[in-house]
């Protein structure tokens, strides 16, 4: 179980691991009898999740990824529901996607999945992710600045 806990500590972000992993392992040895292995392992798992998702900023990537996936799913549903109104003939060459037609309301729902469509989706998701991460970063920085400013405000 000590090895399990050590592995758990190795999965923490490097900065946290360098600072506290040694002491945490020492405390694990000291308190395993009083707190129990299971409680300590769950505590380590909780710390791991908090460190990666909250403290290291990875939550922004996770949130942006979830929103991008949601965006694609909603787009897919919208195409399924409203796409039949703008049915177009499939392109002569299946490897070529008529982007102008797609941009003007054409549906790609009934076209075979081609490299062009996959590339278009990849660019769409990557662009969305980048915009969301930048937006969230700026939003959090302004939030932190407001907190610091309020804390140092002179009454």
């Amino acid at each position: 179980m000590r090895t399990c806990y050590r592995c758990l500590l190795c999965l923490h972000p490097p900065v946290f691991r360098r600072e506290y992993a040694g002491e945490m392992l020492w405390i694990f040895d000291q308190s395993v009898a009083s707190q129990g292995v299971t409680a300590l392992l769950f505590d380590g798992l909780g710390s791991l999740a908090r460190q990666w998702l909250l403290r290291s900023g990875w939550w922004k990537i996770a949130l942006a990824l979830s929103l991008a996936v949601l965006q694609v799913v909603l787009g897919g549903f919208a195409t399924m529901i409203f796409g039949h109104r703008h049915l177009v003939e499939p392109a002569q060459d299946p490897s070529v996607v008529n982007m102008a037609e797609f941009a003007h309301g054409g549906s790609i729902a009934h076209q075979p999945l081609t490299v062009g469509i996959v590339m278009y989706l990849a660019v769409f998701i990557t662009g969305g992710l980048t915009v969301m991460v930048i937006g969230l970063t700026f939003w959090m920085k302004s939030f932190g600045a407001r907190r610091r400013h309020a804390a140092l405000r002179v009454r």
Partner: protein
């Protein structure tokens, strides 16, 4: 000059207990855990993951800092932590807030309930 501590309030239970345990003297991680267990009469047990995660956050906020010189008789590998003056102010503000909550609760619990 008075500082406004409201952006840091209310403190989470873990942060409150850690600051309380450091109010008396400088302690290392395991000492903080033992002091918290003593203060809460064993009802609140903090694991090392929660402890160091919160200590890191409190150090970033400037409420706690690493103590420069550990006691001579102790293991030099252990790191000691202490409350900063800003942390002491935040703890006092949180205690004052909790006092007003308790006062309010006593008033409402003492008052006779209206029949529904």
């Amino acid at each position: 000059m008075t500082e406004d501590y409201t952006p840091f309030l209310p403190l989470s239970p873990a942060a409150l207990h850690i600051l309380l345990s450091l109010a008396g003297e400088d302690r290392h991680g395991y000492g903080i855990m033992q002091e918290i267990a003593r203060q809460s009469e064993g009802q609140y047990k903090l694991g090392p993951g929660t402890l160091y995660d919160n200590l890191q956050k409190l150090m970033t906020q400037g409420l706690v800092e690493a103590s420069p010189t550990p006691p001579a008789h102790d293991d030099p590998r252990r790191r000691y932590f202490r409350l900063t003056s800003f942390g002491c102010g935040v703890l006092s503000a949180e205690v004052a807030r909790l006092e007003s909550v308790v006062r309010e609760a006593k008033v409402h619990l003492r008052a006779p309930r209206r029949a529904t």
